[in-house]
């Protein structure tokens, strides 16, 4: 990890401005780095700012989304502050590309796959001849496991879901972007297709077509297999950020544990273990929140939690935003089980 990171996001803050003029701080001081060959998983429930973070990292600031402060660098170069045309031509698709959330609806239904894919090349200033582009598309689509001749001639509606998702991935990675942002790429697919799509993404990484990946999802168990590190997001902030095994098996933030607890497992040994949903809703970011943002829903909140500002601090080798997380496993989430005699919350 000593090499310079490919993607470097530092203290990024972005907000939405509603029609009534209120400011919604959707991403609030997020920092992370992504090295070559790394996959960072970002997990969190709906509305926690995952997708906003993606737009912000790609430099897609379109009203009502506004840039606040912080920086986004790819290979050391800032991608913010370019004019829109420059940004589209030199950053999007080349340095950073997205596999969008509703990938199944993101292909123009009135155009053939060939034209959609060729657009990606033409719109970045490449003026190659038709035959040359056809050759390139064939080669790439065959490589991602599609019957190129058939697929290029098809309209998106004629293709099944899994194939459509592959086409989206194929088009997104056509210009060999360094960072690929996969925003819930498999949430619309069934479990079997999901597996093959994720295999494809890793295949692209193995072949050095893409070098690193941001993987956004609300399924923590999936990240166990996909990512090398995980950041858990809540109300616009990272609440825990560490290596995959640390976060999955030994989460120290109460929210991480709650998120894991709400997952179902098909493991026969786990059957009968009841998944617990997290009650309540995330806080309204229209208002400034003092102290811990999760305090209201936290099962182990203590009286002083909602007053004190919670900085990210290092606990047991990962960053956690909870002042009661301790170095021994399990303390923060199960106060009744441990013998820590500090100020006790309600029994």
């Amino acid at each position: 990890m000593s090499t310079t990171p490919i993607l470097d996001v530092a203290d990024l803050r972005v907000h939405y401005r509603t029609r009534a003029g209120t400011k919604v701080q959707a991403v609030d001081g997020v920092s992370f780095q992504l090295a070559a060959g790394e996959v960072l998983g970002i997990a969190g429930e709906s509305g926690c700012g995952k997708t906003t973070l993606v737009s912000a990292c790609m430099g897609l600031y379109m009203p009502p989304l506004f840039y606040g402060s912080g920086s986004v660098r790819i290979n050391g170069e800032s991608i913010l502050g370019l004019d829109r045309e420059q940004h589209r031509k030199h950053v999007l698709g080349r340095k950073i590309a997205i596999i969008p959330q509703g990938a199944l609806n993101s292909l123009n239904p009135t155009r053939k796959v060939r034209d959609l894919a060729a657009d990606m090349i033409y719109s970045h200033g490449d003026r190659s001849g038709k035959a040359e582009i056809e050759e390139r598309l064939r080669e790439r689509f065959t490589r991602i496991g599609l019957d190129a001749r058939h697929v290029l001639d098809a309209y998106p509606v004629e293709l099944p879901a899994g194939t459509k998702q592959r086409v989206v991935i194929g088009v997104s990675t056509l210009l060999n972007p360094q960072v690929v942002v996969a925003d819930e790429p498999t949430s619309a697919l069934d479990v079997s297709t999901q597996k093959s799509v994720i295999r494809l993404l890793f295949d692209l990484m193995d072949r050095q077509i893409i070098s690193s990946m941001l993987f956004i999802t609300h399924e923590l168990p999936l990240l166990r297999h996909v990512s090398s590190s995980i950041a858990v997001m809540y109300a616009g902030e990272f609440v825990e950020h560490g290596r995959t095994e640390q976060v999955i098996f030994d989460g120290r933030h109460p929210y991480t544990r709650a998120l894991m607890g709400s997952m179902l497992s098909a493991d026969p040994g786990q059957r009968g273990k009841k998944p617990v949903g997290i009650d309540g809703a995330p806080p309204d970011l229209k208002h400034e929140i003092r102290g811990c943002r999760f305090a209201e829903r936290c099962p182990v909140a203590r009286p002083d939690c909602s007053g004190a500002e919670q900085p990210l601090r290092t606990v047991a080798g990962r960053a956690v935003r909870c002042s009661y997380a301790t170095a021994e496993p399990g303390v923060a989430a199960e106060p009744q089980m441990d013998a820590e005699p500090q100020m006790e919350a309600q029994p």
Binding site: S192, M213, L259, P268
Partner: protein, 282 residues
Amino acid sequence: MTARPVMSPERSADVKLEARDVSRVFGHGKGRKVAVDRVSFQIQGEEIVSLVGQSGCGKTVLAKLLLRLDQPTSGQLLFNGRDIEAERDLKRHFRQVQAVFQDPFSAFNQFFTIRSQLESCFRLFEQRPPPAEVAARVDAALRAVNIEPREIDGKYPFELSGGQMQRMLLARIFIIRPEVLIADEPTSMVDACSRASILDYLMKLKRDLKMTIVFVTHDVGLACYVSDTIYIMHCGQIVERGAPDQVMTAPESPVTRELLDDIPDIHRDWLGRGAGAGASAK
């Protein structure tokens, strides 16, 4: 697939839904597609049955047949021992068989408030209760799905989150109280935290209102959690059926085994490239 033993012809008293050799074929000639292929089953009262299979295996078509939104090409579907086609009064059928769908936003009308739409459920009944009782029953149904009635007053569907809207669909079920509920992928549009609570409401419906539930999903894990019986579907046929534990621990069909393998489980290698695959991708 091996032939299953033929079920005993005499019907036990509490069979709610029964299918006898039901097929649904779309198109003809070259484009002929058999979506449901000679399916037979008996579903008991107060049972949660899961239909599990990959996309395109015919589970939604089968669900639509049960709802009478579509008609089988051949075979017979019986509800309480009567052919469902024989029921002339559609309203009566829908009072007894209701559905929860995948996308709650498309199930509600964008132009009316949620409350007015919940109140319109009462049109299905033969006698409409007085307005005060309607309001009280809507409130009770909302509380049953853990939503404070005041919260949604005057709100439109697009003002709520996906998880909340899915609970609104369930509130409808608490109002109508059908005998049978067909839940077609009710959790695929909501995030993992809301998923657990949606499943809990389904189990509550079964427990408190003695409802029979057909749960359609592609995730065997979910199916095992909620159901009493699991039917695995593949290419229009039911290839395996049994209790969740039996299906999970000793799957007979290769289709079931594949479905089980495809679920990302944190304790098992899933991609065949070791844990934290991203780290080794270099």
